[in-house]
């Protein structure tokens, strides 16, 4: 009886860490070098929950075009190595898509199907996912314009290099 109960409890605990919580295997989050784990610095520090412009550290991080929010809207003050959902639930950085999905629910739905987001790897079998933050900087999400690759060669410039006799008009 005890053994059976123990097995049940074990299974229950395992279920807590089952695919339902870690559905999508993603590459390591794109932290800036050395920034994680956050608690390495924030352990023992006071938490100033007043919304303000930071001056001591992380002052280079500006929330641009992502609403009127600030750090503790997404980062969990209780445990800096976690993010927080609006209800207060803590999630790991590897699960940050659930945080973005609170507002961008349709995109999250599409992302889970593989419709939103960059695809690499195999169309057959396990899909490989990237986190939202692998492409979108959470503090400054909009993509910057990039330099395009060169235009194709026009047909009148498609020539033989060797003999000038072959020049078109």
């Amino acid at each position: 009886m005890k053994k059976g109960l123990g097995t049940l409890i074990l299974l229950f605990l395992l279920a807590g860490n089952s695919p339902a919580a870690k559905e999508f295997s993603v590459p390591y989050p794109p932290f800036s070098p050395g920034i994680f784990p956050c608690m390495a610095c924030h352990e023992g520090m006071d938490r100033n929950r007043n919304k303000r412009q930071l001056t001591d550290m992380h002052q280079e991080i500006k929330i641009i075009r992502h609403g009127e929010r600030w750090c503790y809207d997404c980062h969990d003050a209780r445990n800096m190595d976690r993010l927080r959902l609006t209800g207060g639930k803590q999630i790991r950085f590897e699960e940050s898509y659930n945080l973005c999905g609170q507002c961008h629910g349709n995109i999250l739905k599409d992302w889970k199907k593989g419709i939103h987001g960059k695809r690499t790897g195999n169309w057959q079998g396990e899909k490989q996912y990237l986190l939202c933050v692998h492409c979108h900087d959470p503090h400054n999400p909009p993509f910057k314009p990039i330099k395009p690759e060169p235009a194709p060669v026009k047909p009148e410039n498609t020539l033989l290099k060797s003999r000038p006799r072959a020049k078109s008009k």
Partner: protein
């Protein structure tokens, strides 16, 4: 009487001209095909790929790989992976996302060993339209701004649509191009006679011709190739996008899908209800280019930001 000698002279002149002319003609013709000793008779008599037995295919691949080694100095692997079962490919492209950066174009050129400048071949062509309807006459092919996307414009990449009712397959006089089981439309480069009828028939500019010997720097060659796909081609035959047959038949995405930095390109198995392409068709509003031509293309465009 002068006539006899006149006629004799004229005859002599005629014969001389013939001989001189014959030599002048044969010289460039022989240069074109190489001296008789270097004619590849095995290649000349090679049958259609679809008619070859497995042993013949084995011999063909061996011969090809040897030829490539001599020509390019690289060990190029030529696969003949067949279509996978229960697979029907489809492609979806999100026009709300495409920024016209052409990363897909050049990754394709690298992956598929396309001819470089000046006789450049690109399987993908990105068209730029002003915000509004898709009017091909107003498309800009050669846009070259400093940065993309440009405000007020949107971008539509076009490539072979691998139509179910492919006009190119219908018109080829010798069945050198056909639709495989997985839906990919392929070309047997060793069977094609270069008549370019298929190019006249394609409504999407999906097919390219090797007007000259492809310019392919040996050090840039992708050695992972397929017979029907990206193995190095030769001049005067037709080629086209093959959904990266050397990758897709091993379960991998075509390189254009992976190269797109904004995730505008989707590829997968239409028969798999969970594939993103199937989900896109089921849940998004998709359309195809030139739908009225009834080519039943596999390339679905959609807008969804």
């Amino acid at each position: 009487m002068k006539e006899e000698s006149d006629i004799d002279l004229s005859r002599r002149k005629l014969v001389k001209t013939l001989l001189a002319g014959g030599a002048a003609t044969l010289l460039p013709l022989s240069q074109a095909y190489g001296a008789a000793g270097t004619i590849d008779w095995a290649a000349f008599f090679q049958k259609r790929f679809q008619e070859l037995t497995p042993q013949e295919v084995g011999r063909l691949i061996k011969r090809l790989e040897e030829k490539y080694k001599i020509k390019y100095g690289r060990d190029i692997k030529v696969k003949t992976t067949p279509s996978l079962d229960n697979v029907e490919f489809a492609y979806a492209l999100n026009l709300s996302k495409c920024i016209g950066c052409r990363r897909c174009v050049y990754s394709c050129a690298q992956e598929n060993n396309l001819s470089r400048k000046p006789h450049q071949i690109h399987y993908i062509r990105v068209l730029r339209f002003q915000s509004g309807p898709i009017d091909f006459e107003k498309a800009e092919h050669y846009y070259d701004p400093r940065e993309v996307p440009e405000p007020g414009y949107f971008y539509v990449p076009v490539q072979c649509q691998h139509c179910r009712k492919a006009p190119c397959v219908k018109v080829c006089p010798i069945k050198a191009t056909w639709t495989e089981r997985d839906g990919t439309v392929v070309v047997d480069y060793d069977w094609c006679i270069g008549c370019r009828y298929c190019m006249a028939a394609c409504p999407y500019k999906g097919r390219n011709f090797n007007w000259a010997e492809p310019r392919l720097p040996p050090e840039e060659i992708n050695t992972n190739t397929h017979y029907l796909g990206n193995r190095p081609r030769m001049k005067n035959v037709v080629e086209k996008c093959t959904f990266c047959v050397h990758r897709s038949r091993e379960g991998r995405y075509p390189t254009c899908v992976e190269a797109c930095p904004v995730g505008a390109r989707k590829f997968g198995n239409l028969l798999d209800i969970n594939s993103e392409v199937r989900q896109i068709i089921e849940t998004k509003r998709v359309f195809r280019l030139k739908e009225d031509l009834n080519t039943d293309s596999r390339f679905f465009y959609f807008f969804h930001s």
